[in-house]
């Protein structure tokens, strides 16, 4: 696992999972974050 993958995994497990339960929801917010950071 590379560092960026690890950072997003940590975000998923430590931040997003506090208010999103489903894997689908977690995938969705992670993709939205990646896309927004790409076009920032």
């Amino acid at each position: 696992m590379n560092e960026m993958e690890l950072l997003f995994k940590l975000a998923r497990e430590n931040i997003f999972s506090q208010f999103i339960e489903s894997e689908e929801g977690l995938d969705g917010i992670e993709k939205a974050l990646i896309l927004l950071m790409t076009i920032a």
Binding site: E5, K31, L33, L36
Partner: protein
């Protein structure tokens, strides 16, 4: 007196009728307003970014002093506090409007197209993001995560604040804010954020197949993102909003090969699901009208900046709703009477049969995009003259 719930429903229906190519009760007026709201209220971008209540005061004044039936955004359109926490991105935060700083967007080389095509999301995450954002460029993994967590809090704050603001416009003013998913098409992302204008111009000539393939592959990210953003939102009042840049610079044959296939596929996917798609066609698209005639019927509201709207209505009006009309030059430099004359001509020629929404020809960004008294005069004129009999 009409209450805000009823006013909101009436406005949503007015817009819906126009987009679905029926005659509404009157020509809808769209608030194509961004940072102009700040100068109109005497607020700086810095003040608005620091306090959401100040941001709301400024934008709500601009969006409710004029009789708009719907508006593009509830406040500052880009999450600048989030971008700033990442290290600044490609935006210049020292301006009074949101501006891209020049010379910062060529961060992908031509030989990386295969990696982008193979897995766009992975390419964004592992290649583009660490190249672009300084918080990932130094320190231990633990330190990087600390900064990243701070950025994520800004990202979540922005999303929540937009939803809260949209709800306030509905409840306090009966005004629909149409922003659902706001997005760029693949070739525009490649131009604006990966390859810059110089890079993509070269790619169009020398690597058109790779560029077209990358555009199609990026739909694997953009389509799920859009579905996620629109989830749970009312498709009659909330639209997918697209801002298109590249086609103004390219020839029809290049458009057909590079831009059109992924763009058309994207539009067709969401139109088939009943979503409305608001598109800002930047600059002039008259050389591409032949393609736009294939857009699905009754799903698209098309804001044209420089196209002759009478030509657009004639060529495209059977399929898509035409929006725009009053040039920002006129809104700023002409008299009230001249602006009203122009607006009258637009209603006379474009309103019959429906499928027309009145607005400025460009998003109002800076103070000199419109004089308030002119905007007031034309919008109030439309509320009377634009009634369908």
């Amino acid at each position: 007196m009409i209450d805000n719930t009823e006013l909101y429903s009436k406005r949503v229906k007015r817009m819906k009728d126009a987009i679905e190519l029926r005659e509404p009760d009157r020509v809808p007026i769209f608030g194509l307003v961004d940072n102009w709201a700040l100068s109109y209220n005497g607020t700086t971008l810095k003040e608005a970014l620091a306090d959401i209540e100040i941001e709301y005061q400024a934008y709500s004044k601009a969006l409710t002093d004029f009789p708009f039936d719907a508006a593009l955004a509830p406040g500052v359109t880009f999450p600048l506090n989030f971008v700033s926490s990442l290290g600044g991105g490609i935006y210049n935060n020292n301006m009074e409007t949101v501006q891209i700083a020049t010379g910062k967007s060529e961060i992908m080389s031509v030989d990386e197209y295969d990696d982008l095509i193979e897995d766009p999301l992975k390419f964004f995450r592992d290649v583009i993001i660490p190249r672009k954002h300084s918080i990932f460029q130094s320190g231990t993994t633990e330190e990087k995560f600390g900064k990243f967590a701070n950025s994520i809090s800004k990202f979540l704050e922005f999303g929540q604040s937009r939803e809260m603001l949209i709800d306030r416009y509905k409840v306090e003013h009966g005004l629909p804010i149409t922003t659902g998913a706001t997005l760029f098409m693949p070739a525009d992302i490649i131009m604006d954020y990966f390859r810059d204008f110089k890079g993509i111009t070269s790619d169009i000539k020398r690597h058109p197949d790779k560029l077209a393939e990358a555009c199609m592959s990026m739909l694997d990210v953009l389509v799920p993102y859009t579905f996620g953003s629109m989830m749970g939102k009312d498709p009659d009042s909330t639209y997918i909003q697209l801002f298109l840049h590249l086609p103004q610079f390219i020839r029809p044959k290049e458009f057909e090969k590079i831009y059109w296939p992924s763009f058309k596929k994207y539009i067709n996917i969401f139109a088939a699901q009943g979503f409305k798609i608001l598109i800002l066609f930047e600059k002039n698209w008259e050389h591409l009208h032949e393609y736009l005639q294939e857009l699905p019927k009754g799903s698209v509201i098309a804001f044209f900046e420089e196209d002759d709207l009478r030509v657009a209505k004639k060529k495209l009006g059977d399929n898509i709703c035409i929006a725009g009309g009053l040039k920002t030059n006129n809104l700023y430099y002409s008299s009230k009477e001249e602006c009203i004359d122009i607006a009258k001509g637009l209603v006379d020629d474009l309103a019959p049969g429906g499928g027309f929404v009145f607005s400025p020809d460009k998003v109002l960004v800076s103070a000199n995009d419109a004089r308030p008294e002119n905007l007031k005069a034309v919008t109030e004129f439309i509320t009377e003259y634009g009634i369908y009999k």
